[in-house]
Symmetry: C2
Subunit: 689 residues, 2 copies
């Protein structure tokens, strides 16, 4: 009889345990207190704002909150003025953002005093690399939330709309106001009417949350779907076709944002196919969109199989056209000059193009940082990038200030992040990858916010603290969960740099999916700049890519005094050392170690660091629901093993050149290199994006 009672209690407890799949992201309703919301206007957006307050109010019980839309020059764009019980803005979006800010501060315990919050960038955009068949390029969280295979895609279901709404709400809560719905490697079908109907349906759901819809377009669309003989941008019929297409789109979506274009890059069509320039192509599209207020985001990620250092090519390609672009063209530049590596110096185009609007492109999805397996908090990487000083307008010309309108006159300011979102229940594959979506939004809104604050906010919002109704428990949580987990997040990206490619090494990934190590990968006949040896340049004398004046002179693209700082091996930051210099194995580092030993110490340190993360997380077990705890725990194990593969693979490979022993105090390799090479070779994968 006692056993039966036990069983019943057990079943009851099991049912009570909420299956936590992470779908709620950082938006977790606690038990709200009553609140009275006063707002003289009505609209869908304002209704959302009210509901959010009522569903999550944690301020004074029964307080009265006023939402006021009123023109105020101190408030820019969709910024807002916030107070304990009041939000004022120029726009409905501004009200909405103010509401989310107020609720966030209540939940995180941040001080609320009257202040104005203006966005750093006007356009804060997610780029979805979603293909129309539902797959996602470099997506590690399942299929697309927008597209799917088969004609079924043309039916918009209630489930679609519910998901899009959840997506829009999450974006609005962190200030994201634009979504490019499809892959930059664009299909011409994107602009056909069936697909545009679906775009309209998506836009209708996103609009009340202040989100504009954008599309990636294929430059050869006029010939491919328009029945024209050419897509030459200077051909009047082509220009007219784009004008007509723009009109068609704006009829469906009056607030449509504009086009994103990857042209003459990695096989994509572009104006150069017709002997025209990037400016010719971008301006033609800009003219088509201009009457409706649309913009063109033209990607600078262009390089060819030439002898020229790949890291220099975007600069060489675009600088000649500075000043020749329409004011509704924005050149979208990846943060670094190569390709979203765990660490790169900023691209020299930032600040260099003084008469052209330039926007940063960040990658939220972890193409080169462990996919959805590694725990990698990217805010420190983006902070490092945005705060880099270009010196283009004297000291203090940070990338952020060079792109947000502070320094150069520009009609628009914008920033883009390649989304990490898919159909996975937790949206991002890894529970901690949600923090990168969150961080991108927060930094796009306020580029000077610190990574530490972002992590602090995100942890508080994401991991329920319902049990801490007593101060003692709150203290325990802060000390034994918040603090170590935050520290882990803040160190996580550097750990990856250490075990993958420390000291400025870059692009030494396996050809297979950019996950494992592949410093050895160089099949015969392969384009040199698609192989790791091109980047690490290891030989018996040393390692590193010489980008000083004795080498490719990539440093020449940077402004003084930075150019000299980077050129001089004794002043070049060691984090970028092998990016700019080829150095002998016994080069003496600041630590007193040789370069070889220092390299080994970094590789080993990265592995040890991940093992420490595992301990941090395991010790956090009692604070986390079972589902998310186990998910993260298992992924950390995978990461730990992958870190070991990186360390062993790279150290053993480079040892073939250095011919030096690993420092004897370090743990020895557990893998043999041949095994790792064989494991890598067995897979067939495409190499680049």
């Amino acid at each position: 009889m006692k056993n039966i009672y036990c069983s019943i209690i057990l079943i009851f407890l099991t049912l009570c345990l909420y299956a936590e799949d992470g779908h709620q992201l950082w938006l977790r309703n606690s038990n709200p207190k009553p609140v009275n919301v006063v707002c003289s206007k009505t609209s869908t957006s304002l209704t959302i704002a009210k509901q959010e307050l009522q569903n999550s109010w944690m301020g004074e019980t029964g307080a009265s909150v006023s939402l006021v839309i009123k023109a105020d020059k101190a408030i820019r764009g969709d910024g807002f003025r916030i107070g304990k019980n009041a939000i004022q803005a120029n726009t409905e979006s501004g009200i909405l953002y103010g509401v989310y800010e107020l609720l966030r501060r209540q939940q995180t315990g941040e001080a609320i005093q009257e202040e104005i919050c203006n966005p750093s960038y006007d356009r804060r955009i997610l780029n979805h690399w979603d293909n129309l068949d539902g797959s996602i390029e470099r997506g590690y969280a399942g299929q697309s939330i927008f597209w799917r295979k088969g004609s079924d895609v043309f039916t918009v279901t209630e489930a679609d709309k519910k998901l899009w709404q959840e997506y829009a709400r999450a974006n609005a809560s962190i200030g994201i106001n634009g979504s490019v719905l499809n892959n930059v490697n664009a299909s011409q079908l994107m602009l056909t009417s069936d697909y545009l109907q679906r775009v309209k349906a998506i836009a209708d759901v996103l609009r009340p949350y202040g989100i504009k819809t954008y599309l990636s377009v294929r430059f050869s669309s006029p010939a491919q779907i328009g029945g024209l003989k050419t897509s030459d941008p200077l051909n009047p019929e082509v220009a007219q076709w784009w004008k007509d297409k723009a009109k068609e789109i704006y009829n469906l979506i009056p607030d449509f944002g504009g086009f994103l274009v990857k042209a003459n890059s990695e096989g994509q069509p572009g104006p150069q196919d017709f002997g025209r320039t990037h400016a010719d192509g971008a301006n033609m599209l800009a003219d088509a969109l201009n009457p409706f207020g649309g913009i063109v985001m033209w990607r600078a990620f262009v390089y060819s199989a030439s002898d020229e250092d790949r890291a220099k090519q975007a600069y060489l390609e675009f600088m000649p056209f500075d000043g020749q672009f329409r004011d509704n063209v924005i050149i979208q530049v990846k943060n670094g000059p190569v390709d979203f590596q765990p660490r790169e110096p900023f691209s020299p185009l930032f600040g260099a193009m003084k008469k052209t609007t330039v926007m940063p492109e960040l990658q939220i999805t972890q193409e080169y940082l462990g996919h959805s397996i590694h725990l990698a908090f990217l805010a420190p990487m983006w902070e490092e990038f945005l705060q880099s000083d270009t010196y283009q307008n004297g000291a203090g010309s940070t990338v952020a200030r060079c792109t947000d309108g502070s320094i150069f006159p520009q009609k628009y300011s914008a920033i883009a992040g390649v989304a990490n979102i898919g159909l996975d229940a937790n949206w991002c594959g890894h529970h901690f990858a949600q923090a990168n979506w969150y961080a991108f939004g927060r930094l796009a809104w306020n580029s000077s916010i610190r990574s530490e604050q972002i992590a602090d906010e995100w942890i508080k919002l994401t991991f329920s603290r319902t049990s801490e109704n007593r101060d003692e428990l709150a203290l325990d949580w802060n000390l034994n969960f918040l603090s170590p987990v935050k520290q882990m997040m803040l160190e996580s990206r550097e750990a990856i740099v250490d075990f993958m490619m420390p000291l400025g090494l870059h692009h030494i990934f396996s050809a297979n999916g950019h996950y494992g190590p592949g410093p050895w990968w160089a099949p015969k006949g392969m384009r040199k700049d698609w192989t790791p040896p091109y980047y690490h340049q290891a030989d018996t004398l040393g390692i590193g890519f010489d980008r000083t004046s004795s080498g490719s002179n990539g440093v020449g693209q940077y402004q003084e005094p930075l150019r000299s700082t980077l050129s001089n091996v004794s002043t070049c930051p060691e984090a970028y050392l092998l990016w700019f210099h080829h150095l002998p194995w016994d080069y003496k580092m600041k630590s007193g170690r040789t370069l070889w030993d220092e390299l080994c110490v970094h590789y080993d340190g990265g592995v040890q660091q991940v093992r420490r993360f595992q301990k941090v997380w395991d010790q956090a077990e009692r604070f986390v629901d079972r589902d998310r705890f186990v998910d993260v725990q298992e992924k950390l194990r995978d990461q730990s093993l992958n870190a070991l593969e990186w360390k062993d693979g790279c150290m053993l490979y480079f040892q073939k050149f250095s011919r030096k022993p690993f420092p004897y105090n370090l743990e020895r390799p557990m893998y043999n290199m041949d095994y790792l090479i064989e494991k890598d070779t067995k897979r067939v994968g495409e190499y680049h994006h």
Copy 2:
């Protein structure tokens, strides 16, 4: 021009570097000094003895050494009297062994004073589990040196003879005087005339080195190749057939040693197939061999799929027949009651059968100790076994004394080791596995020799010290090579116990080849005693096999006071704890830790230990030739990874039952259990031997 000189020098140096493949084993000719050997008799064996002295003499230059064969009661069997410049023995073999002893002492620097060296066991036998098709059961060093596929096997080549001679010399140098040439899972074809011709050829090569040849026979041979209707041992035609067969063999090989029989075990035919007993079967064969001085080694490795604890079955099966066997029958008993596990208590049959000759069977090949991948020096395991006190004739009745004739009257004494020898250039797969062949020979000759001395000798003999012509270098070698490498060898078996199955756990291997972990392995319908859960008995309450009187009462087979020591959980050695007891997870260990924590500490400790071995070996690099250094280095990496799989697999699996966290100071798992199970399941392998 300078470059050409450099190239020539380089080529010259390369040619000079001896490609060290380990084929020379512990027999490495240094630069011998002149010696004058005096011997009044001549024979092939004595010629070998002389040549060995002349090829390797490191004593006084120009010394005169006398070899004297003379009957001497103080010298037993093929023992010898040794002096600085004299060897005396009863037999030619004795002279040969004395020569090898003298040369070994010269090379290792051991003192040489006049003394008599008598063997512990008369018969010191290798069992080769070689199949007639050239494959070797549980062989990890390539194909058989005796057999090969196809009719080609019936041609004896010069290469065959050269290899057999090298094999014989190696055996003689460590006192091994018998070889069973084929697998105990024997083919009936072994006794056909074509194969017997090849046995004769082998025996002819082995004979001058004092090695007798033996064969494993299939009990059903009379019916299978003799044209009889039965193989019933009490059938006179069957008995006659065996007598005729014995005669045929002895005509070819006058000094033939005898038969080894695996009967009624794991599907092999035997007397029980005809309603007869092991005694009936063994005695019938013994009678056939007796006229020629041959012996029968009858294996006790017999167990059935009954409800009875497998560890008890050999004892139950054989004890009733004690005293019923002929005096030329030896019962061959595996060291432990289950099956060559990394650690087992000794089999209770040792010392229990007081009226029957019993011989130990050790396993040199590393079936359960990492194949030829792990560095596992087995002498400590055998020393532990041979020195175990059975108490069967009072305190001090060690296994060694119970089997070598010290305590019980017996016509013969013998010990067998399952060989780890194959066609690999280095004979044993792993360079350090040679040490186990060496150790078996040394212990079979002198069961009281310590593991430490064996390791010391083997290292000195195996790793050339040609460069140490100066004292300073010798000191360096002793301090930085001999000492740490010896320590590593001595700790290596315990490290394996720790990361595989500490605290008395046993037989929790993967079904696939007894290499990786498989504590979970239990397919539906599988014989229970072939699955690991049968052995570890883990459940939510605890872990371990209860062999006390409340369980299978396996302890009842041991003699008092050992029985009580093992029965009582507080006196049972912790190394055997879970072999004899099922204990709760929070049982308090002597360390003060819970059983669960202690288990984790052992698993982790084993992994850390292998990592230390890697450091030891890497630091030994300058003392070792490149080839052997790299071979061992790479195998240690594989071992390190396998140790991790063991630790993670077992800890994660047992955690499902214990429901306790791993101690937080320990490194966390890097593997997920599902991955390891899947990896294991993907392979198809046979399970037992």
